[in-house]
Symmetry: C2
Subunit: 131 residues, 2 copies
Amino acid sequence: MTSTDAQPLRPTRQRKAVAAALEGCNEFRTAQQVHEALRGGGDTVGLSTVYRTLQAMADAGEIDMLRSDAGEASYRRCSDTHHHHLVCRSCGATVEVEGPTVEKWTRAVAEQHGYSEVSHTLEIFGTCSNC
Amino acid sequence: MTSTDAQPLRPTRQRKAVAAALEGCNEFRTAQQVHEALRGGGDTVGLSTVYRTLQAMADAGEIDMLRSDAGEASYRRCSDTHHHHLVCRSCGATVEVEGPTVEKWTRAVAEQHGYSEVSHTLEIFGTCSNC
DNA sequence: TGTCGGTTTGACACTGGTTCTCACCAGAAT
DNA sequence: ATTCTGGTGAGAACCAGTGTCAAACCGACA
């Protein structure tokens, strides 16, 4: 029910546009920003569609989602492997980082307290050298 | 400007009530839940006041705030020292954990990429032994 | 190539958490 | 007691995100 219903996800004009907007972009962008960028670029894509598409892409693991301090979701094109983000607080420039030690540590701590099915979120914020 | 304007934060009936609602409670609670709990307990405190108070307490470092997957803020009475949370996905039971290794690692990674003024967020989710 | 059924789209209404507003209240200072 | 100042709260406003539903679209198949 939740596994083998992977519909091919038709590559419509809108979906391509959203994907393109995220391609070649190093920062996290909110749905609204993507929407505006598309509109600015001449593509007309409905806001609902942008939301839907970003969500679908995030579900499919094609992009990563994180929540800003204010609780808004933002998205970014990312590599397939599990990783975390080092985000510049002022310009948003993002570096993907891996931390095998952290992965191990979280699992160990969780199991030690009797927690199973462990997952975690980890984001690092700082000010990048350009800012 | 940002340092010595620490107003004493008058201990009004409402503030005491909010603090009490969070005391002796091991889970994270949203503002609305706190509001309802107070109302149920006979205390009448306005929703705005609950929001304001929780925010003020979080700013003052008296409580911790985290955002649910859906983007809602929830709060919890916490110890003063820097720590992270191991939260049960289904019942919300929370354990505070420390990870000196992780702290070191995040700082090292950030500096290695030229990022300064480093901070980070780390939460671990799992299913606790009771669930 | 024309038709057909399911998929996708998008304008718009709606939701629900959070913040704002502003008249009123309460305790401290004078 | 009066004044002064911050705190309160009911309700309105705000806004990211979701639901709705008729129309547009797509790919397949005849």
